[in-house]
Amino acid sequence: MSPSVVLVAGCALVTALLKAAGPIALGGREIPLWVTSVIVLLAPALLAALVFTQAFADGSELAVGAETAGVVAGGLVAWRSGSIVACVIVAAALTAALRAL
């Protein structure tokens, strides 16, 4: 098998297993209040981690670059306008403009 086939099939398999695990383990049952309370707060924790690790890190190093400024500007646009499309376009445009300088 070519490496590409192994790569694509392997990524598909691990992704499917990870997405299946939670629903298999915790399906269709009443859950205690303290679990729900943690679940509600998973979204801000995970989303913030995704944003910050991509905007403020380059590989395994903490770094601020053109994309950091772009993401901050995109965030301001999303906050003021509520538009995610405007947010990502501003983020990409400012990042590209700073790199072109």
Partner: protein, 238 residues
């Protein structure tokens, strides 16, 4: 399904997911280009988007292959990057009916934006809204990958176009929609701090997974009281 509550929720999901689908299109165009720079064929890039459909994992895997890493390391990075689907799936699971296999199949529809959109704020999820939002994003994810993989030469360098800023900006917009309460803001900052502290020492993906520990703030009495209030306001506590 066309007129019932499920169909209505699915259509609401399609609408709510459309802005994310447009942003995802731009992102997947850059994936199509970058994948070929990393040595994947256009066909491999397109098939990867079709059957993996997880942006951060796809980018992480091809980054490792592109830097000369092994296929095993690339799959491992994809698994770590997607490890957040464990807590996300655990959150979504109680909202799913059916046996384990049926629930596992429904769990495949989870992607970040849909999961956040479908969260009702009381711990339960609107599964049809999630399916609709994911369907919209799936279509554009494929279209963008095909465009990037086949037409990437016309586009030029994705970094020069700032396409790498799209992904974090996408999640930031989601986060701003999620952070309604002071408690959510505190948890977001805590999650960010945990992740950034681990970036220099942990493999890619682990910092984001570890950030889920910030949600343990939910164990406090005041956080549980707030959830109870949200459930009672919803009128249908689960």
């Amino acid at each position: 399904m066309s007129t019932g509550p499920a169909g209505q929720a699915f259509r609401r999901g399609l609408r709510a997911g459309t802005p994310f689908a447009i942003a995802g299109f731009l992102l997947s165009v850059s994936f199509g280009v970058v994948a070929q720079d990393a040595g994947l064929s256009a066909l491999a890039a397109i098939v990867m988007s079709l059957i993996v459909f997880a942006g951060s994992a796809q980018f992480a895997a091809i980054a490792i292959v592109g830097q000369g890493g092994t296929v095993g390391a690339a799959i491992g990075a994809a698994a770590l990057m997607n490890s957040r689907f464990l807590p996300m799936g655990a959150a979504f699971g109680p909202s799913l009916p059916g046996g384990p296999l049926k629930r596992a199949a429904q769990g495949q529809a989870v992607v970040d934006a849909s999961w956040a959109l479908a969260a009702r704020g009381d711990g339960s999820f609107d599964r049809w809204l999630l399916f609709g939002a994911s369907a919209a994003q799936y279509v554009t994810w494929q279209a963008g990958t095909i465009a990037g993989a086949l037409g990437g030469d016309l586009l030029g360098d994705p970094e020069a176009l700032g396409l790498d800023a799209i992904y974090p900006a996408f999640f930031l917009a989601l986060l701003l929609g999620e952070a309604h309460s002071r408690r959510a803001v505190v948890v977001a900052l805590l999650g960010a701090a945990i992740a950034l502290a681990l970036v220099p020492v942990a493999p890619a993906g682990v910092p984001v997974l570890a950030a889920s520990l910030a949600a343990l703030v939910g164990l406090t009495g005041s956080a549980q009281a707030a959830v109870l209030e949200a459930q009672e306001a919803e009128g249908a506590p689960r």
